[in-house]
């Protein structure tokens, strides 16, 4: 966990817990996300991966503990300022688009920020996901893969510091999976790379994309390692079982 000692992480989590209806679903002792990295959160269903992602997007406050983002605390009492909150965005497993045109969906986040001259950025984002030829088509007419690509376009048009991906390719065909993974890798190879946190229960995807992997089990982060160590020489016996596919989930 030596990389966790990096002096300027984007996020640091200390003793963060989240309780729903008296049930503790998340208990992260310590975790840091480094600028410009692709961190994969893997683990069985119900391990708290998506909950952690919602916390990282400031959609819900932690029940206890402290999450810091660019040195600003986010706790049960302190909200994240809007300007900082807007530097993070997420792509969900099930994209819900607005009942408008594709272009209007991609423009939406810019409109929320009061930016009305983003034509060029919208076009670039649509081109990045390969949908520049149908900007005026209604979003409701798209296939699952196209809808997810619009969801990705409406996120990357915002040029966020951090992009959170919650099982972004779980229900997609191989063509769309490949396309989305390629876009994700390109975002990370830009001159000022986007920091990516990817939730997946597909360890092959984690292997293809991530530089670092965190393994979650029952709400806790039980192991964090760089991708190579994680997959070839896992330190934790539970990680080893998961990587070998022996963990039942």
């Amino acid at each position: 966990m030596s990389s966790d000692l990096n002096p300027t992480p984007v996020y640091t989590l200390e003793q963060v817990t989240k309780v729903y209806n008296g049930r503790k679903v998340l208990e992260v002792e310590r975790l840091a996300v480094q600028p410009g990295e692709i961190l994969a959160l893997v683990g069985p269903s119900g391990a708290g991966k998506s909950t952690l992602l919602r916390l990282l997007n400031f959609l819900e406050p932690p029940t206890a503990g402290c999450l810091t983002f660019h040195d600003r605390p986010f706790t049960a009492e302190t909200e994240m300022p809007l300007a900082l909150r807007r530097r993070v965005t997420m792509v969900f497993q099930r994209p819900l688009l607005l009942n408008r045109s594709i272009e209007a969906n991609v423009r939406f986040g810019l409109q929320l920020r009061g930016e009305h001259d983003g034509d060029e950025r919208v076009r670039t984002a649509l081109a990045a996901v390969g949908l520049e030829h149908l900007p005026h088509q209604k979003a409701s007419t798209l296939s699952g893969g196209e809808a997810q690509r619009v969801a990705l376009a409406r996120a990357i048009v915002l040029q966020p510091d951090v992009l959170l991906l919650d099982e972004p390719t779980a229900n997609l065909d191989p063509y769309n999976v490949g396309l989305i993974e390629e876009i994700v890798l390109q975002l990370n190879r830009q001159p000022s790379p986007t920091t990516l946190v990817l939730v997946t229960h597909n360890i092959f995807q984690a292997k293809r994309l991530a530089q670092r992997v965190a393994f979650m089990l029952d709400g806790s982060v039980v192991d964090v390692a760089d991708a190579e160590t994680f997959f070839t020489r896992p330190n934790d016996p539970r990680t080893a079982a998961f990587v070998r596919g022996e963990m039942v989930y």
Binding site: M90, F92, L98, R100, F108, G109, R113, L164
Partner: protein, 254 residues
């Protein structure tokens, strides 16, 4: 005797026998010279009273409907139960309530405060109709907003929306249902007679609206006029709904 009266006032079952005389009656300046200006006044007041009441109930009802649909707080269930009760409340009971409220011996009647209308004025009718339309607008808006996938709000928040922006986005997604809410509110008050009769008093040239005029002309046995007024009322409702539908339809093509 009763049978004789029935026969005397029986209408011909063929609509042509009463629709045309009804309109001849209205548009003829010779039979009753002031009828046209009086009629215009009645129509104008109907539209003004119900229109203003609709604006008020929409401005109050839509935000409350959104609040009830999107947030969770203690007492919400009770409020929704009250709202549903309000949606089925007999207008005449609301008329009675407003009457008692504003009458000289009522809690507000003695106060000479601005914005509190006097009984038997159009303002009192607007107040009563706003109370009638409000639960309809708020209740249907709440249902429309609750019909939008709750995940959508979260995804909009993830794109950087403030709470207000997210609520507005959900409201825009629910626009078809919200227009229905406004239509229901308008339908509830333009056709309403009990409350406007009680708090307005059906005073000629002052608080007479289409519905109360229909009641009066029916009582006077002037069926032609009553039918004509009824058809005008239907016409107004139809035109208003066509306009609303266009609003709904346009939003589809955004």
């Amino acid at each position: 005797m009763a049978i004789h009266l029935y026969k005397a006032y029986r209408l011909n079952p063929c609509p042509a026998h009463w629709v045309f005389p009804a309109f001849r009656r209205i548009f003829s300046r010779h039979t009753i010279p002031d009828l046209n200006s009086e009629l215009a006044e009645i129509i104008g007041l109907s539209i003004q009273v119900s229109g203003l009441a609709l604006v008020i109930s929409t401005l109050v009802g839509i935000p409350i409907g959104v609040l009830l649909g999107l947030t969770r707080f203690s007492g919400r269930r009770l409020l929704i139960a009250l709202l549903y009760t309000g949606m089925g409340f007999p207008p005449v009971v609301i008329g009675l309530f407003v009457y008692l409220l504003l009458s000289r011996s009522g809690p507000l009647g003695g106060l000479a405060v601005p914005f509190i209308p006097a009984l038997f004025t159009p303002a009192a009718m607007v107040l009563a109709q706003s109370i009638i339309a409000f639960p309809l607008v708020a209740g249907f808006t709440m249902a429309a907003v609750m019909g939008v996938d709750p995940q959508l709000r979260q995804q909009v928040m993830a794109l950087g929306a403030t709470r207000r922006q997210a609520a507005l986005a959900v409201l825009t997604e629910a626009r078809v249902g919200v227009v229905v809410a406004v239509i229901a509110g308008f339908g509830g008050i333009i056709s309403e007679v009990g409350a406007v009769m009680m708090v307005g008093g059906n005073i000629e040239g002052s608080t007479r609206v289409l519905t109360t005029a229909i009641v009066l002309s029916t009582r006077q046995g002037d069926f032609n006029l009553a039918i004509a007024l009824g058809l005008i009322l239907l016409g107004i409702t139809f035109v208003v709904n066509v306009v609303m539908l266009r609003l709904q339809g346009k939003s589809f093509n955004e």
